[in-house]
């Protein structure tokens, strides 16, 4: 801030003279230096125990540095440049973290192996074991999609029925009150016993975990719809079907989305547990497998993949919500 101010004053004082680096992006320059430093440390500093893939890691760091450098020199124009600028401070922080990590593991051995592998050990996992990781990711994704889809659909239907028909509410409400708060994983022993395959059991238990919040929030959404909206529709000559589909459901959508977010969150938890206990595939299974072999680098690598996958799913759901609930803009923020 103050630097920009000084540059401005100088420009004003010596009119006609253009400061040669005025259009550069300073944060990007610092970031490039940091990432280049990480690469240099990795290549030049001798390791405690020699490790493979140090050069690959260094090249990756150099690549990030190059991107930042290009951004710094060009001043990061355009929408992509804007995103890069936005990520600048994080790029510096991440570079510093990786450098520190590299030093305390591979270079000095301050953190004990095998629990704290070095960055290049993670690179090694991604390079050598990517087919299995990808396979696990796909298996987890497919399981989650099935479980969450069934759960969301069932939860929505249950919530709608409870909110709309008094009689349905009378019968379902106590059951939901009793079963809902029980962690879905508590059912696992029974469910694995009852269901023919562990895959179907896992789908069911994920559905169970995601259905509860979806049902409760759909119900409360339907119950809190402004009665005036129904009057409007009724004066158009609306049938019950019309009232449900064109009034109750759209009006309850904001609540429904809160339910979907909560359901997705709890389905992640159940997914991992189900894979660790029952299914012989997926990221959860990969985690327990890696732990069994003491392959901690694989463990961290899988955790990172899982984190990225989960946050991507949440982002997708946010995008869908923003699109469907654009009418709410300015009314509700969360």
């Amino acid at each position: 801030m103050s630097g920009a101010g000084i540059a401005f004053e100088r420009e004003g004082a010596t009119s006609g003279f253009r400061w040669p680096f005025a259009s550069w992006w300073g944060t990007g320059l610092v970031g490039a230096a940091v990432w280049l430093g990480v690469a240099a440390v990795t290549v030049l500093w001798r390791e405690v125990i020699p490790l493979p893939y140090g050069d690959v890691f260094a090249w990756i760091c150099a690549g990030v540095a190059a991107v930042l450098l290009v951004g710094a020199v060009t001043g990061a124009p355009g929408p992509i440049g804007q995103r890069l600028r936005n990520a600048g401070p994080w790029a510096i922080a991440l570079g510093l973290f990786l450098g520190l990590w590299e030093i305390v593991t591979a270079k000095t051995g301050r953190l004990p192996l095998p629990f704290f592998p070095s960055p290049q050990a993670l690179v090694e996992v991604y390079v050598d074991d990517w087919p299995r990781l990808l396979d696990s990711l796909a298996a987890s994704g497919w399981l989650l999609v099935r479980g969450f889809a069934f759960g969301a659909l069932a939860g929505f239907s249950i919530g709608l029925a409870m909110g709309w028909w008094r009689r349905a509410g009378y019968w379902i409400h106590p059951v939901l009150r009793l079963i809902g708060p029980v962690p879905a994983t508590a059912w696992l022993p029974i469910i694995f016993f009852v269901f023919p395959t562990s895959a179907s059991a896992s789908v069911f238990v994920i559905a169970l975990a995601s259905a509860f919040p979806v049902a409760v929030l759909t119900w409360s959404g339907i119950a809190s719809v402004n009665r005036d909206y129904y009057d409007i529709a009724r004066t158009l000559g609306a049938s019950e079907r019309f009232l449900i589909l064109k009034v109750a459901v759209p009006a309850a959508l904001p609540h429904l989305f809160v339910g979907l977010f909560m359901g997705l969150g709890s389905s992640f938890a159940v997914l991992v547990v189900a894979e660790m206990l029952g299914v012989k595939s997926g990221l959860g299974w990969y985690l327990s497998w890696a732990q069994g072999w003491g392959a901690y680098a694989n463990l961290y690598a899988a955790l990172l993949v899982m984190a990225l996958a989960c946050s991507t799913l949440i982002t997708v759901l946010f995008r869908a919500r923003d699109r469907l609930l654009s009418w709410q803009k300015g009314m509700v923020r969360w």
């Binding site: 000559g237 009418w327 300015g330």
Partner: protein, 263 residues
């Protein structure tokens, strides 16, 4: 025989052991093309009466006859313009009107005809330019315009207006009153309007129905407004018929049926 007949309507609400009588023996006959205002202090049950005509609330005894046939459920032959919350917030202006048009003319008009009809009615209230806006993005007056457009687009036998301009500022209100007068003159709709604004009632109505205070509100007086149309608000200020009508309504409201609880 009239077009719409409100026939000996009573309305009682039961809460536990207590019964409140809101409306008592309301009878009124309205002709086709007539503009009737119902005026009274707040809480006198005029909105309840309108809801009964709309079919949203059942009458306890008595009933509503439209063209000689009893109506006791809401239907598109009696469109309502509500005081507020008149539009569904998740639909655009266009879609709010389309909801009604598709419901009423879905099987009769083609898609293109319905589109033209929606735009025609939006243009009628000068809202065609805002067709893609959502209710949260337009002013209160504009929302009521859209509400009126939706009501008109249904081609109802009767348009029911429930204090349509009550929540608007004076300038917007005057503007919309003029719009409604123009529409009434052009289309000849039968309209019933609830209001508590004396000038609004005299300006717009062929007849003013004055209601006594609740509970057990009755029709106190019915005043015929013999003012030639089209009416111009500025010229009426000094018109003797207008002044006399205004005075009659004011006397009824503030001398004979003063609202006791308001103090």
């Amino acid at each position: 025989m009239g077009y719409l007949k409100i026939d000996h309507v009573d309305k009682r609400f039961q809460r536990g052991a207590a019964t409140t009588e809101v409306l008592k023996d309301i009878s009124l006959v309205i002709d086709k093309g007539e503009f009737v205002s119902i005026i009274g202090h707040s809480g006198c049950g005029k909105s309840t009466l309108l809801n009964i005509v709309a079919g949203l609330t059942p009458a306890t005894t008595g009933g509503i006859l439209l063209e000689g046939k009893e109506v006791n459920a809401p239907g598109p032959d009696r469109a309502v313009v509500f005081q507020n919350h008149s539009l569904l917030p998740w639909l655009t202006v266009y879609d709010n009107v389309a909801l009604a048009v598709n419901k009423v003319f879905g099987g009769v008009k083609s898609r293109a005809e319905r589109h033209d009809w929606i735009m025609h009615n939006l243009d009628l209230v000068q809202m065609g330019h805002a067709k893609d806006k959502r209710p949260a993005e337009i002013s209160g007056g504009m929302k009521q315009r859209v509400g009126i457009a939706r009501g008109l687009a249904m081609e109802p036998k009767i348009l029911l207006l429930d204090e349509p301009f009550g929540a608007l500022d004076a300038l917007t209100r005057a503007h919309l009153q003029d719009s409604v007068m123009q529409i009434h003159a052009a289309l000849g709709n039968t309209m019933i309007m609830i209001t508590h604004d004396v000038d609004e009632a005299v300006l717009l109505s062929d007849r003013i129905v004055m209601m006594t205070n609740g509970p057990s509100a009755r029709i106190g007086e019915v005043l015929d407004v013999h003012l030639a149309r089209p009416r111009k608000r500025l010229e009426l200020v000094t018109d003797r018929t207008y002044i006399a009508a205004r005075e009659a309504v004011l006397k009824f409201l503030y001398e004979r049926h003063r609202f006791v609880e308001a103090a």
